[in-house]
Amino acid sequence: MKLKLSFVALLAAVLGTAPVNAAKIRVVTTLTDLADFARNVGGDQVEVRSLATGIEDTHGVPMKPSFVPLLNRADLVVLAGFDCEHAFLPALLDASRNPRIQLGQPGYVDCSKGIDPVEAPTSTDHSEGDVHPYGNPHYMLDPVMAKTAVSNICDAFVTAAPQYAADFKKNRDAYLAKLAAKIMEWKAEMAPYKGAKFVSYHEHWPYFAARFGLDYVGTIELKPGIDPTPRHIEELIGEMKAQHVPIVVREPQFPEKVPALIAKQTGATLIKLPIMPGGVPDTDTYIKEMDYIVNTMANALKK
């Protein structure tokens, strides 16, 4: 009987159905903001690794084979969702041979659950560029929406290790309270600039703009994932001049040449804003990243 039970336990462990008890929960996140949330919520009970280091494009994290063993051993994979990671995550999950973290399994933690997306296309025709069929996936740049991601991560941790549920919920509440206080600060800092206009390279900022009352005029990319044409640049410059747009945002992973040209031609200020923690120096946490974004934007608009 004992032998039989041991065999069942071994089989369960091999098949990946063993409950997470003694060991830490092994969490792999796609992006660094999610890793930061996971560390804050999971505390000492989790071991968190992020595929991205922070300087990559959220859609273009290189598909390294060294990620495969990480994912193979993971209890949870945490992702932004809305197809944000479509260029690398599905293939990596496929290669990971880990049934626990496949789509539809409890170990597949889609943080977009509960987020109401903007810009959901009515058609996924490729003539619209590299569209995200579920809507714009860059909701993490709205700190209020980021709270939903934090809660989703907490829920997943509670499911994976219910014995630590109280700790996870306590950590979540503490982090959300900290975030709420920062949100008040950021809103206060941005309050004088309601209605301020800006453009960016990629369509990263609709949620941020809506949260802080900014007017997001357009993007340098012709369409998502499609490089700008000379005609598009010309039209964008015309539009910016007509609307007196004072800010051009360049995300660090995109080349500086065209944004700099547009800023020069329109007299706008060019600023570089990260899209996840670690995107620029001294932004290794989500709060530091948002601090940087809000401060940089506010300072540029002050001029």
Binding site: D57, M63, K64, A95, R97, P99, D116, T122, G129, P252
Partner: protein
């Protein structure tokens, strides 16, 4: 009856005068009175309908406003005010949640336009190649028609889906034209099933598929980094490593990436081996590959692999006449080993705009043949050792543009003295993820023993994708 129906719909009580007596048999005054009542009730019904419509609209506006105010509803939103403008009933939080969920479901249903949500996901790849060869097809050794040619190399229809919770399946059907004759044929390139949840990191694939041998053999033509498959893969492997059989793949359960694959099939490459009335296990192709990867730094990495192919009795029945015209060779044993190595610079920050790749593959063929003198005499066994390789360097300097240079060397696997060199600079314009143009010049320089002529060729390749397209692991 219409009055009754209206009354039921509107919830109004039936008039007191209502009887079961047919209208036609009643006095005229009573009929007129009933008609007036009917008209009043219809008007009342219309008013109530309009009022309810207003209530629905008011509720919808309320939901929209609340959704905008609270875009991240981690918890259930606060209940709306007790009396919504224009509404006569109180909306409870439960009712609000129910209605909100319904609206979400409708919105989600309207967004069901994602192509990969079809079952199966279906995509189509087209590839057209315009070419200009300096020599005719008999002398250029490329397989292309001589002079100018435009041909549709492939129209590849692929479909993939889960078969059940623990396996997936896929089919790739390819309509392609023969490069020399232009004749088009439709064939199944792949039709296979693969497990997804076997223990011990195992994956089992069965059916017809591209067996894992080498680095570029199991990649479809349109996914190659240059226009044509390297000569050495065409000759030693038979183009794509198409096999009909089974393959097991093991990801070693260690912290370092090491993958081991082993398979068997009735063919590996273009044509089945040992076609006949009876095939023993001694006449089957056995192949395997060991691959690994190293991060040299955040931006530099190396992938490498070792592969082997062995068929103890390939049993090809048709002898191939050698260029010297003196012997005809029939392959009896097939043995190929392969080593591949790829060094990549992929900067994390701007990898979509900048990268450098140096890819290499070396193959050694040690096939055994039965040599039959054409002038008569007894046949004898002959082992031909030959090796070939390719090496390419590709540099990407923007999201759309990259350029590369491919060098090839090949010893004929039936005559090691017959050698060919190939030089191919190329330029790729990836207009988008689904649309790409490539211009390539290739000079092939065979020696005299090869029996073919030096050739200069220019290729313009246009490949495009419609429908579902995934960024697969093998194409990374």
């Amino acid at each position: 009856m219409a009055v009754l129906a209206s009354a039921l719909v509107s919830g109004t009580n039936l008039p007191a005068q209502e009887t079961n007596q047919p209208i036609a048999s009643r006095p005229a005054g009573e009929v007129e009175q009933l008609k007036r009542q009917l008209q009043q009730m219809q008007e009342s019904f219309a008013r109530q309908q309009a009022e309810q419509q207003k209530q629905i609209e008011a509720l919808s506006k309320q939901i929209k406003a609340l959704t905008k105010a609270q875009p991240a509803p981690t918890t259930i939103p606060s209940p709306p005010p007790a009396n919504i403008a224009g509404a006569t009933n109180t909306v409870t939080p439960d009712q609000f949640r129910w209605l909100s969920d319904k609206v979400d479901e409708v919105v989600a249903a309207q967004k069901k336009t994602l192509m990969s949500e079809f079952n199966p996901a279906i995509g189509l790849v087209g590839e057209t190649i315009f070419s200009q060869q300096s020599k005719g097809s008999a002398q250029n050794g490329t397989g292309y028609a001589g002079g100018f040619d435009a041909y549709q190399r492939s129209v590849e229809l692929n479909a993939t889906a889960a078969v059940y919770p623990f396996a997936k399946g896929w089919v790739v059907a390819n309509g392609s034209a023969d490069a020399a004759t232009g004749e088009t044929s439709l064939g199944i390139e792949e039709a296979a099933v693969q497990t997804t949840s076997l223990p011990w990191n195992l994956t089992l694939t069965a059916g017809q598929f591209f067996g894992e041998f080498g680095r570029l053999s199991y990649i479809h033509d349109h996914e190659l980094p240059f226009v044509n498959r390297p000569m050495v893969l065409d000759q030693y492997v038979g183009g794509e490593s198409k096999t009909a059989g089974a393959q097991a793949s093991l990801l070693l359960p260690i912290e370092h990436y090491v993958n081991l694959t082993a398979g068997l099939g009735t063919q590996l490459g273009d044509d089945p081996d040992a076609i006949g009335t009876y095939r023993s296990f001694g006449a089957v192709n056995y192949f395997g590959r060991l691959s690994t990867y190293f991060d040299l730094s955040d931006n530099w990495n190396v992938e490498c692999g070792l592969s082997g192919l062995f068929n103890p009795d390939s049993g090809n029945v048709n002898g191939v006449l050698q260029p010297d015209g003196l012997t005809s060779l029939t392959a009896t044993k097939r043995q190929v080993v392969d080593a591949d190595f790829k060094l990549s610079y992929v900067p994390l920050r701007d990898n979509q705009f900048n990268s450098l790749t140096w890819g290499n593959e070396f193959l050694y063929s040690d096939n055994q043949y039965l040599a039959t003198p054409t002038a008569g005499g007894s046949a004898y066994a002959d082992t031909v050792g030959a090796w070939g390789m390719y090496s390419y360097l590709a540099y990407k300097w923007s999201r759309s543009w990259r350029a590369g240079f491919l060098f090839e060397y090949l010893q004929n696997d039936q005559d090691g003295a017959a050698r060919t060199y190939g030089y191919s600079p190329y330029l790729t314009w990836a207009i988008s993820h689904w649309n790409q143009l490539r211009l390539q010049y290739t000079h092939t320089q065979p020696n005299v023993a090869s029996g073919i002529q030096p050739n200069d060729a220019v290729y313009l390749q246009w490949s495009w994708i419609i429908g579902s397209h995934s960024h697969g692991w093998t194409q990374r």
